[in-house]
Amino acid sequence: MFKKSYIDISGAKKKQAKFENEVTFSCPKCLTRITATEKMQNNDFCPKCSYYYVTSAWDRIHDVCDENSFEEWNAHIKSLNPLNFPNYEKKMIKAREETGLTEAIVTGRGSIGGYDVVLGAMDSRFMMGSMGSAVGEKISRAMEKAIQYSLPCIMFSSSGGARMQEGMLSLMQMAKTSASVGRLREAGLLYISILTHPTTGGVTASFASLADVIIAESGALVGFTGPRVIEQTTGHVLPPGFQRSEYLLKHGMVDLVQPRAEMRSLLIRLLNIHQGENYGEK
C-alpha cells in the first residue's frame, strides 16, 4: 500500500536512549521535581498533583518520527481575522511569540520505523489548540496529500474545539476535515488518530474520531462537552476518571490506550501490519 524502506521494530528504544542526559523539570503547581524520562513515562502529567506539562507538536513529531525524516508542509499558512473579532489578532501574535508556531497544528511528511507517512500534530499551547480556518486547511491539505501519495495518515489531536473567534468559518472546518476523511476512506488508506490531553469539542467531533484505529494517550481527557460545562449544565458530580482514556476504552470509543513512551513502537507495529494488501479486489 505504501513505501516501506526498512523495518525497525525496536523503535521505542531509540527514544529512551535520548533521555539519558536527564534534564529535570519542576512542577509549576506543586514543585515536585522529575526527570525527563519520568515525565515522559508519566505521559507528561506530574506524578504528584496531575499537573499537565504540555507536549508540543514538535515534541510529538520527534517522539515518533525517524531522525531528520520529517518535512513540514504549509508552515506559512496563518489565520486571518475574518470577522474582525475583538482581540483575536492580539491573541494570535501572543501565541506565535510564545510557541514559535504559526498555527495550532504542524503537518507534513515523515517516516516512522522506515514507513513513510503523512503526519499532523496539534499544539494545545497555541490558543488551546483551537481549530480555525488555517488548522482546518492544513488538515485537509495533509489528507489530500496522503491520497496523492498513497500514504497512511496519522493525526495527533489536542484541542479545545473550534476557534470561536472565526465564528461559522471555524465550525465549518469540522465539516471540511470530516469530508477529507471521507476521501481518505474512499481511497482505502490507513488513518490513525491519536487523542492526547486534552481533546474536546469540534476536533473530537470531526476528524479525530473518524479514524480506522483510534489510540488514546494514557490519562488524556477526551470528550465532546468539556467537564466543567457538563457539571454546570447538569448539576451532576462527574464520576472519577470521567472522559479519561481508560473510561473511553471501557465505553468502546477507542481501540487502545497507550503511554506516550510506547507510541512510536505501537505505530511501527500498526504500520507493519497494514503495509501490504493480501487480498485486494481482483
Binding site: 506559512h76 499558512i77 496563518k78 489565520s79 486571518l80 475574518p82 470577522l83 473579532f85 475583538p86 482581540n87 480555525g132 480556518s133 488555517a134 482546518g136 486547511e137 485537509s140 473550534a162 476557534r163 470561536m164 472565526e166 465564528g167 461559522m168 468559518l169 465550525l171 465549518m172 472546518q173 469540522m174 465539516a175 471540511k176 470530516s178 469530508a179 477529507s180 471521507g182 476521501r183 476512506r185 474512499e186 469539542g201 469540534g202 473530537t204 467531533a205 470531526s206 476528524f207 479525530a208 474520531s209 473518524l210 470528550g223 465532546f224 462537552t225 460545562v229 457538563i230 449544565t233 447538569t234 451532576h236 462527574l238 464520576p239 470521567f242 472522559q243 465505553h251 468502546g252 470509543m253
Partner: protein
C-alpha cells in the same frame, strides 16, 4: 398567532394597549374615534414592521429561539401529502429530539430529518429541549443510508441549542456520533438540502448541515458557540452575550454574505410563519427548485460539488 414577548416590542405593545383603552372609552362615551384609531393602528403596524427590519443580532437570536416557531414536524405536515415517521438507532434507543422518516412531497419521495423541540415544559422534557443524544444522530445516520439505498433526496430541518451536554451522551460517544454524520453526509449519494428553521447551535446543528444547499430563514441563527458561552469564556460575563451575538456574525444575513448559506427566506413579521401564504410558497419553491436542479446532476458531479463547497470554506493567509 402573534409573538408578543420580546423586549423590543414592548413600547409598541404598550401603545397598542392604550389604543384598546381608547376604543373602550369611546364606546362608553358613545363617540366615534374609529377613523383616528385606525390611522394610528396602521401606523403602529408599519412601525413594528420597520422595527423588525432593524433587529439587532441579539434580537434575532431571541427570535430564532422562540418556541412558537414552526418545528420540524410542522414543516413535514406542511410539505408532505403522506409521511411515515421512523424510529430508533437499532443500537440503544429512540431519540425524540431528532425526528425523521419518509414521505411524499408533491409526487417525490423524500427522507426528512430534523431537530424537534417541545412547545411547553412537558413536551420539552420529552424532546430534551431539541438537544440530540448520540442515538439521535445514529437514527439520523441510519435513515440517511436508507435514503441513499432508495435514491431519495434528503431534507434536514435545523433547530437546536446544540448536542446534549450530559454524562450519558458522553458515555455513548456524542463526538463519535456527530463526526460519523459529518463524514456520512459528505459522501451520501443523493441530494441534500438543509433549512435552518430556528437556532443552529454548534456541532449539534452542523451534523445536519453538510448539504448541497443550505437555506436559512431570515430570523434564524447558526453559530460555532452560543453568544452566552462565548461571553462567559472570553469576557467572563454572560451578560455581554448580546454584544457577542454581533461579533460572532451568526445571523442569516451575515452568513449569506459570508457565502456559508445559499439563500435567506424572508420571514413575515409578527406572524406564525406557516400562516403566511407568501412564506409558504417561497419555502416550497426554494426546496423544489433546488431538488430539481440537484436531481439533474450526475451523482459524481453532485459529490464533487458538495466536497468543494465545504473544502473551500475558510480564510487564511498563505
Amino acid at each position: 398567532m402573534a409573538r408578543n414577548k420580546f423586549e423590543f416590542e414592548e413600547p409598541y405593545l404598550l401603545l397598542e394597549s392604550k389604543l384598546e383603552d381608547l376604543k373602550k372609552l369611546s364606546e362608553q362615551l358613545n363617540t366615534d374615534f374609529s377613523e383616528e384609531i385606525n390611522h394610528i393602528e396602521k401606523r403602529l403596524d408599519q412601525m413594528m414592521e420597520e422595527r423588525y427590519k432593524r433587529l439587532t443580532p441579539w434580537e434575532q437570536v431571541l427570535l430564532a429561539r422562540d418556541l412558537d416557531r414552526p418545528m420540524t414536524r410542522d414543516y413535514i405536515r406542511l410539505l408532505c401529502s403522506d409521511f411515515i415517521e421512523l424510529h430508533g438507532d437499532r443500537v440503544y434507543g429512540d431519540d425524540l429530539a431528532m425526528v425523521g422518516g419518509i414521505g411524499m412531497m408533491g409526487g417525490r419521495a423524500v427522507t426528512i430529518i430534523g431537530h424537534q423541540k417541545g412547545r411547553n415544559t412537558k413536551e420539552n422534557i420529552s424532546h430534551n429541549f431539541g438537544m440530540p443524544r448520540p442515538e439521535g444522530y445514529r437514527k439520523a445516520y441510519r435513515l440517511l443510508k436508507q435514503a441513499e439505498k432508495f435514491g431519495r433526496p434528503v431534507l434536514t430541518f435545523i433547530n437546536t441549542p446544540g448536542a446534549d451536554p450530559g454524562i450519558g451522551a458522553e458515555e455513548r460517544g456524542q463526538a463519535w456520533a456527530i463526526s460519523e454524520m459529518l463524514c456520512g453526509l459528505s459522501s451520501l449519494r443523493v441530494p441534500i438540502i438543509s433549512v435552518v428553521t430556528g437556532e443552529g447551535g454548534s456541532g449539534g446543528a452542523l451534523a445536519l448541515a453538510v448539504a448541497d444547499r443550505i437555506v436559512m430563514l431570515s430570523n434564524t441563527v447558526f453559530s460555532v458557540i452560543s453568544p452566552e458561552s462565548c461571553a462567559s469564556i472570553l469576557m467572563r460575563d454572560v451578560k455581554r452575550a448580546d454584544e457577542m451575538a454581533g461579533h460572532l456574525k451568526m445571523n442569516a444575513q451575515a452568513l449569506y454574505e459570508m457565502r456559508i448559506v445559499d439563500e435567506v427566506i424572508e420571514e413575515p413579521a409578527r406572524q406564525y410563519l406557516l400562516d403566511s401564504p407568501d412564506f409558504v410558497e417561497k419555502l416550497k419553491n426554494t426546496i423544489n427548485n433546488y431538488l430539481d436542479e440537484l436531481g439533474s446532476l450526475e451523482i459524481s458531479k453532485l459529490l464533487e460539488q458538495r466536497y468543494s463547497r465545504f473544502r473551500q470554506i475558510g480564510q487564511f493567509l498563505e
